[in-house]
Structures are given as C-alpha cells and as structure tokens.
C-alpha cells in the first residue's frame, strides 16, 4: 500500500517509467513495423480490386450498347460485329432456374436442421457435409452433372441450371439456417401455445420472421452462381444464337469471357471485356440488393 502511495504523481501526469519513451527502441520499432505491415496488407488487397474494376470499366464501357447486349455472337470471334445476346439470355435462364430449384430445397433443408434435427447426429452430419459440399470445386460439380445427366441426355441449359443449383444448395442451406437460428424462440412458443401445428408455426411465423435474411443470403448465392464458368463449359455446349429453351446447347456470359479471352484478336478481347462488365454489373447489382435487404429488414438481434 505504502509503495503505491509513494509513487503517486500529480494528476494527469504519467509516471516516468510508464511513458511510451521508456519502452526500448527495439520494441517500439517492431511495433511500428508491424503497424505499417498491417496497413500495407490492406493496400495489397485494395490495389488488385481497384485495378480489376478499372480495366473492366475502362475497356468494357466502350463496348456496351443495345446492339452488343442483344445481337447474336459472330461465328468467327475475330470479327468485330455482333454481340453477346445469347450469353445474356443463357445466364438469366440458367441462373434463374438454378435459383428456383436450389432456394426452396435449401430453405427446406435449413428448416430441417434448425427446427427438426437441431443437434441430433443426422443433423450434425448434414451440417458438416453441407460445409464440405461448399468446398467441392465447381469443375467437379460440372463433371458430376456431365456424368449423371448429360451422358444420358444432351448438353443443355437444363444441365447447366442443375450444376449451378448443386453449387448453390449448400450455401443456401447454411445461410438460411443461420437466419432461422436468429428467430427468437418466444415466437415459436407463442404460436404453438395458440394451438398452431408445428408446420403452420414454421410457415406462418418462423419463416416470415427470417425471410429478409434468407432472401439476402440467397441473392449472394445467386450472384456466385452467375459467375461460375467451369461447369457451364462442361455441360452446356455452345451456341451463337439465342436459345430460350432449356433443351439444346446454350451459352452464358462467363463462357463467352473465357472463350474470347483465349483468342488473339483485338475484337475478341474487346468482346471479353464487354461481357465482363455486363457480368460484373449483374453480379454486383444482385449482391447490392442482397445487402440492402439484409440491412433494411434485419431481424433485431436480442
């Protein structure tokens, strides 16, 4: 006690042995070096993003026109005519159908995990396997649909949509489950106490409470799926003309970027940048809407 009292200094003044200058130079320099390194790492992540965005906008913007977005793809990619219309249509059809397949099933799966299975062995296994499935490379998912669907039918938009749906499913399940978990148990208990069946409680009370979070998670999954290239290359085939049907060869924006990027002609490179800008705009708009929904209608965490 007395020792402490003796060391007391006038108010507002730091004792000499606790001032920053009393830290040895080596320790102070190390601290500063680390601080600079941490700032530098942030810069190292920002620079590539800025560069990619710059090139996509600078090189892609001059390509964008109604003609470019709707016209057929030229048979010879070296020609500066035509556009990427079939790819825009293909991306919308395949991503749309994949969403229609994966989101309802994924939400149902999340309902099983959070409302029925909870912590039992099967639910824990499904949860772990959904995480593992998230890590399955998209090219392997493409090979799966190729061997399971295309070999017995044909390369088609339907096969592409199935591949994208398989990639979306685990993402939708896990993000929806997180959102269902945020719904307060009092809501469930109140509904059950009023005599509602469990399925009615889930459909009319739990789901509406979590719907904004589920929607935003699903939109992020859609954005990811729209940019997938490898599975589409394997299972969808290729076409130069717009194909609104689910059967027969189709194409998509990522595939056109990939194909045109490998051609040595300036016209092809330009087309690739134009398609890249179109794709990035679609993906970022979807992501942005997802974030807006998440921020605007978030469940109030208690």
């Amino acid at each position: 006690m007395t020792a402490v009292a003796q060391q007391t200094t006038p108010a507002g003044e730091v004792p000499a042995n606790l001032r920053r200058s009393s830290i040895s130079a080596r320790r102070r320099v190390t601290d500063q070096v680390v601080k600079v390194a941490i700032w530098l790492s942030v810069v190292l992540a920002v620079v590539p993003l800025a560069l990619v965005m710059y090139y996509v906008i600078a090189k892609g913007a001059k390509m964008i026109s109604w003609e470019f977005l709707t016209a057929d793809i030229p048979r010879q990619l070296a020609r500066p005519t035509g556009g990427i219309g079939p790819a825009v249509v293909g991306t919308l059809i395949m991503t749309g159908l994949a969403s229609l397949l994966a989101i309802p099933v994924g939400v149902l799966g999340a309902i099983y995990l959070n409302e029925y299975g909870k912590q039992n062995a099967l639910a824990r296994t499904i949860r772990l396997m959904a995480d593992v499935m998230t890590g399955v490379p998209s090219v392997v998912m493409g090979l799966f649909i190729y061997t399971a669907v295309v070999l017995s039918t044909e390369q088609s938009g339907l096969a592409g949509a199935l591949a994208l749906a398989c990639l979306m499913l685990p993402v939708v399940i896990r993000s929806s489950e997180e959102m269902l978990r945020l719904v307060p148990d009092e809501l469930r208990q109140a509904s059950l106490a009023l005599g509602a069946r469990k399925w009615r409680t889930i459909l009319t009370v739990v789901l509406p409470a979590a719907i904004s979070g589920i929607a935003s998670g699903s939109l992020l999954a859609i954005a990811r799926a729209a940019g997938e290239t490898a599975p589409i290359v394997l299972v969808v085939g290729l076409t130069q003309r717009t194909n609104w049907s689910l059967s027969g060869s189709n194409t998509a924006l990522p595939v056109q970027i990939y194909r045109n990027a490998t051609e040595p002609f300036a016209a092809a490179t330009d087309r690739a940048w134009g398609a890249a800008l179109t794709l990035v705009v679609i993906v970022l708009l979807t992501t942005l809407i997802g974030r807006l929904i998440a921020n605007r209608f978030a469940i109030k965490e208690r």
Binding site: I23, D31, K35, A37, I38, W39, S41, V42, L44, A45, P48, L51, V52, Y55, V105, G106, L108, G109, Y112, Y116, L122, A123, I126, D131, T134, G135, V136, P137, V139, V140, L143, F144, T147, A148, L151, L169, P170, I173, G195, R197, K198, W199, I202, G227, T229, A230, V233, L234, P254, I257, A261, T262, T269, A272, A276, L279, V280, V283, L284, T287
Partner: protein
C-alpha cells in the same frame, strides 16, 4: 347433448387432426436435408463409374507418370500420367497461400485491432467486393494485363537471382506471355484472400477482451499483445481458415486455365508454364483425344474431388474444434 360438448372441447393431443400434415412437412424438410448427402454420394458414384475405364487402362501410371499423351503416337496407345498436374496444383496453391496468408492475417488484424470504426466497414465492403468478382474476370485480367506486365518483373528477378545455385533454379527463364505458375499463384491468391480473411477475422474477434487488456496492462506494445494474446488463442482457427483457402485454391479452374500456360511438365522454374488438375479438365474437355480420353479427364476430377474433400473436411474439423475451445474460454 354430451356429443356437442365433446365437439367443442379442442383436441390438444398431438395425434389429432392435422398430424398427417405435420409428419408430411417433417418428411419433406428431412428429404431436402438428405439431398445434400445424396448429391455427395452421387458425385462419388457417377464420376468414379465414368472414370473407371481410364483408371483401369492407366493403372498406377495415373499417379506415378508425368506424361499426358491422349493420342496414339506411332502405334503406341495414349498415356495418362497425372503427376505433372498434381505438381502444378501443388505449386500454384502453395504460391497462392504464401501471398494470401500474410495479407489476410494483416487485414483481419486491421479489422479487429487497428482500424478506426469508419474504416472498418469500408474495408469489409472492399473484401466483400473482392469475393464477389467472378473468377473468370480475374482470369481475363490476368491473361491480358497481369501476365504481360509481370514478364519484365520476372526477367529482372531471373537476372538477379537466376545465377544462385539451387535457389536460382526456382527463378528460371520466364515465358514471353507471362503465363505460368507464378502468375496463376498471384491471381489465385487474390481470389482466396476474402475467404481466409473473413474466417480469420471471426476467429480473432473471439479473443477475450480481458486477455488483451491484461497484456496491455502488463506494458505490452500492441504487437506484443497480438503475439501474446491474439495469436495463441486463435491458432487453431487460423489453421482451419488457411486450409479452407487451400481448398479453394486447388479447386480454382477457369482463372488458372487462362493464366497457367497449359504445358505438361514438372519443373522447378516458377516462371515456366504448367497445368493444374482443375484447369486441365476445363481446357481439354472439348477435345479429350482418343478414348478413353474423356474418361481420363473425369478421373482427374475424381482425384481432385478426393483431395479437396479431405482438405475441406479437415479444415471444418479444425475450425469446429477451435470454435468449441474458444467458446469454453470465453465463458
């Protein structure tokens, strides 16, 4: 009379009216959950079945030889040796981790320990943006901008370090297009930074404030606090995050296909062209050579599937174990 009163009393037992719909909904949601297990099993079954002819044909050559000749040359049948692709996948993933891990840990530390509140959400948005850019766009940027731009840098490094024995062999003559292991590693690194960062950040955020305050109160500088309180506490979680990044890096297909240069070779030269398991499937699937060429490409997919499943499964176990431990510490 008694009958009417009986009717008015609501049935409160679970077996009454509507129990069937309850069971049906339970079954439906269970089915959706089981679909995950079914798809994973089907992936394994259908791909292995289609890969079998090639695996049967190539035998042990598949993992021990480094030549991939999907044509009949001078009467000799095709050769399927995946070793050079396994090597390419390993080199590209390793380079990507070397670049991405320090940057990701740095950003995670920035977000949890260093950033002013305003900057925190900005940097988070930037990382989210980085994650949402499709990989093919990074590939396009890599093949047209990054590759050609880096050739001069590679040349300079080759000139400076190429003469040193042993280490110099890593920095050999670069390819004129810049397409090779190093460029692929850099592009993949950019793509896995978001996933490693987001998990590492979550792990760092679980370090108890009391531990950090205790370190600072003992006179530690901020770095000493990070080294002494943050790192030991989050080691397991960070390892898991790195493994998840590794899984993503190994499965990355299109961006790698565009920038790796498509050469079948095993070379220590990091500036040389090569190929990886995932990229060779995408590059050659349209033109797989004589039968069983396509089957052989599917066999590469099975190999890739097996490797990524093991890495991801391990990563999830590590992350989960770390989570349980950290929750225990926080309580």
């Amino acid at each position: 009379m008694t009958q009417t009163t009986e009717r008015r009393v609501p049935r409160l037992n679970a077996r009454g009216h509507g129990a069937a719909s309850d069971r049906a909904f339970n079954g439906l949601s269970l089915g959706a959950g089981l679909l995950v297990l079914a798809i994973l099993a089907l992936i394994l079954i259908t791909t292995t079945r289609e890969a079998w002819p090639a695996i049967n044909y190539a035998g042990l050559d598949f993992i021990t030889r480094k030549d991939w000749i999907p044509l009949e040359v001078a009467g000799a049948g095709p050769v399927y040796g995946a070793l050079s692709f396994v090597y390419g996948t390993a080199v590209v993933s390793f380079l990507a981790l070397i670049f991405a891990v320090p940057v990701s840990i740095g950003i995670a530390l920035f977000l949890t320990e260093l950033a002013p509140r305003r900057l925190r959400s900005t940097v988070t948005t930037i990382i989210d943006l980085l994650a949402s850019i499709p990989s093919v766009v990074f590939g396009l940027w890599g093949i047209i901008v990054v590759g050609p731009a880096l050739v001069n840098v590679y040349d300079a490094i080759h000139g400076a370090l190429g003469g040193i024995p042993v280490i110099g062999r890593l920095f050999g003559e670069p390819v004129s297009t810049g397409r090779g292991f190093m460029t692929a590693g850099i592009i993949v690194a950019i793509m896995i930074i978001p996933i490693i960062t987001s998990i590492t950040r979550e792990v760092f955020a679980t370090v108890p404030e009391a531990d950090k305050h205790a370190a600072l109160a003992l006179g530690a500088t901020r770095w000493e606090m990070i080294k002494g309180a943050v790192f030991p506490h989050s080691f397991g979680g960070v390892v898991g995050a790195i493994m998840l990044g590794l899984g993503r890096a190994m499965g990355e297909t299109i961006a790698v296909a565009l920038v790796i240069g498509a050469a079948t070779q095993v070379t220590p030269n990091l500036f040389a062209s090569g190929n990886a398991l995932a990229s060779v499937i995408a590059l050659n699937f349209g033109d797989p050579g004589v039968p069983p060429g396509r089957s052989a490409l599917i066999a590469l997919g099975v190999l890739l599937f097996a490797i990524t499943i093991i890495v991801n499964y391990g990563a999830r176990l590590v992350v989960r174990r770390a989570e349980i431990r950290m929750k225990g510490a926080a309580a």
